[in-house]
């Protein structure tokens, strides 16, 4: 009896393997010929090591992509990935999962420039270098045709290395919003230098440290053609237009090094948690206060920056806007996405996802971030506390130095089915978070 069972199970195993090999061979052939198979999503047994709430799943769509920054997904599930640096001369990748198993199986590249920003509409793909914004016309499949040459919408934006990402988003009225980060930590005469005072007024703000608005249908625009839509923003990498509020929201990277620059006012622990990383709702003409003030999430106050006479207690920035949400310091919010999909449970609808790249300036304290958070929204405003949604990208229990992290969340995009995609510019991976799917479906 025992023998028979063993023999039976061996037969079943062999049969299964044969069937499986057949199915996989078909799937591989499908890739080669470009035909669509229907393998169904292959779920990851451990969610790729990433912790998500019950009912959610994480799969790896692709890896070894270089340094993927922002991403966008078209109506067919094709994924545009903006690379920080071109790989083999290609700065934008277009990935497709033709057999439906969840893993990208075809890839093509175009655009010979590195950068961060990418944004997709029905008819155009927008992408940025660290100085320019380009626009590609799409075909009926929302794809960029072979050998397409882009139009230059914006050129000549400041790139002085520090905070040079030109993140982009659009409103519904034909306006393009571009972050131009300040090429400085705190607008000191000598950047990041002990005892160097803040410049008054800060000369950087005339051409950086804010959000500029341009037109989506005008070519060769530069500073004179655009509007400084908001100022006093040190560096924004994540931004998105909120349809319900009909307003721009941005996440700012707060300043670094309070302790090393002003050890008399800030100890190591204070400097590790201050100042806040901030989510702002932006109206035209708003000033968020950098470099003169920072937001202290513990005192819930705008505090005068020490470079401008502050001591960690004096308040300032009476005319500066307050954040909609304040997070602990240095976690580096690199992407903002308002979720409008139908896949996730109802409470996620219209809420904000933020990808935190993870800190470095908390050292020697342990680092924080390396996760994706969620903030519920109602009627275009936060309606609850922020919560960690997807954690464990670093692959470590404790990260002391960012080079220990396996993955660093960088970009977010929503798929046509409501999946949430997360890019990782450190490990070069692209993840997809799904809800209520079964293996093979």
């Amino acid at each position: 009896m025992k023998k028979l069972l063993q023999k039976n199970s061996l037969t079943i195993a062999l049969l299964c393997l044969t069937l499986l090999a057949g199915a996989l061979t078909f799937s591989c052939k499908g890739e080669a010929s470009g035909k669509e198979g229907k393998a169904g999503i292959v779920l990851s047994p451990d969610n790729e090591g990433i912790k998500v709430p019950d009912g959610f799943h994480v799969i790896e769509v692709a890896n070894s992509l270089g340094s993927p920054r922002h991403i966008a997904v078209n109506s067919n599930g094709g994924i545009y990935v903006k690379l920080k640096e071109p790989v083999d001369g290609k700065g934008i990748l277009y990935l497709k999962d033709t057999d439906g198993d969840g893993a990208a199986d075809t890839s093509k590249g175009f655009g010979d420039y590195g950068g961060t920003g990418i944004y997709l509409t029905d008819h155009y793909l927008y992408a940025s270098s660290n100085e320019d914004v380009f626009r590609y016309a799409l075909d009926e499949n929302q794809e960029v045709p072979a050998n397409a040459s882009p139009d230059t919408l914006v050129y000549g934006l400041i790139d002085r290395r520090t905070h040079n990402s030109k993140s982009i988003t659009l409103d519904v009225k034909g306006n393009l919003y571009v972050n131009i980060g300040a090429y400085s930590n705190a607008c000191q005469k000598e950047d990041r230098t002990l005892g160097s005072l803040g410049l008054m007024p800060c000369p950087i703000l005339d051409s950086a440290g804010g959000i500029w608005q341009f037109k989506t249908d005008k070519f060769h625009q530069t500073y004179g053609d655009g509007v400084r839509y908001a100022t006093g923003l040190r560096n924004v990498v994540g931004l998105d237009w909120n349809q319900q509020a009909n307003a721009l929201f941005v996440v700012q990277h707060g300043r670094d090094q309070l302790h090393t620059l002003y050890p008399d006012y800030f100890d190591q622990q204070a400097s590790a948690s201050l100042p806040a990383e901030t989510l702002y709702r932006i109206e035209e003409g708003d000033d968020a206060g950098w470099p003169y003030i920072y937001y202290d999430q513990i005192q819930h106050k705008k505090i005068l920056a020490p470079e401008y006479g502050g001591d960690g207690k004096k308040t300032g920035g009476e005319d500066a806007i307050d954040p909609a949400v304040a997070f602990p310091g240095h976690m580096a919010p690199n992407a903002l996405l308002f979720y409008t999909g139908n896949m996730f449970p109802e409470r996620y609808k219209n809420g904000a996802f933020i990808a935190f790249h993870g800190s470095w300036n908390r050292a020697p304290e342990p680092q924080k971030g390396y996760f994706v958070v969620f903030i519920p929204f109602e009627n275009g405003a936060p309606s609850g506390d922020w919560e960690v949604f997807a954690d464990g990208f670093s692959g470590k229990d404790t990260v002391h130095s960012p080079d220990e992290a396996e993955h660093r969340p960088t970009g977010l995009a929503q798929g046509p089915d409501g999946s949430l995609y997360v890019s990782d510019d450190a490990g070069g991976s692209l993840f997809r978070i799904l809800y209520d799917v079964k293996d093979g479906e």
Binding site: L5, A13, L24, V42, V87, W360, S401, D403, D425
Partner: protein, 164 residues
């Protein structure tokens, strides 16, 4: 019994799946010199006693590093990708003494290309450090994080400082 056997079969399949799965993936693109200067394996900063005993003023150098350098270059000396350069396995630290001394004394705001990668943040100048302090911290970074290079003396720092 039967359940157990089928369980084994299932396990076998699960073990075999990834092999097929990876086999079907698009071939991984060769990433450009990825993290070539940044060894992903964390290097402990607490060197064995036998090694540190030979390095002059290692403890002082480590204390200076912790105060002034660690927040950007990190405890591992691995730096921060894209922002702050790594200090391990690089000519900027292990090569000519003069270049390293100059960067510590005068800072660097040109953006450095280290092992094929660019780093954007400015390095502040540290003119307030004495010749001894510059020598100790420079010697510390030249002999930490897996680095090994000749010590730098206060006299060598003084010479570079006086060059202007």
């Amino acid at each position: 019994m039967r359940t157990l056997s089928l369980g084994h079969t299932g396990l076998l399949l699960i073990l075999l799946l990834p092999a097929f799965y990876w086999g079907c993936r698009p071939s991984a693109k060769s990433s450009p010199d990825k993290e070539s200067g940044e060894n992903p394996v964390a290097v402990s900063t607490s060197e064995p006693e036998t090694e540190t005993a030979e390095i002059p003023h290692f403890a002082e150098g480590k204390a200076l590093y912790t105060s002034y350098c660690l927040v950007c270059h990190q405890a591992t000396g691995g730096g921060v990708g894209g922002l702050n350069p790594p200090l391990k396995n690089t000519e900027f630290v292990l090569g000519e003494k003069e270049r390293l001394i100059r960067i510590i004394l005068h800072g660097s705001n040109t953006g450095l290309l280290v092992n094929g990668k660019t780093y954007s943040n400015s390095m502040p100048a540290f003119p307030q450090l004495s010749d001894e302090e510059v020598a100790y911290v420079a010697t510390y970074v030249r002999n930490s994080f897996g680095n090994k290079a000749e010590a730098i003396s206060p006299a060598e720092v003084e010479e570079i400082r006086n060059l202007k």
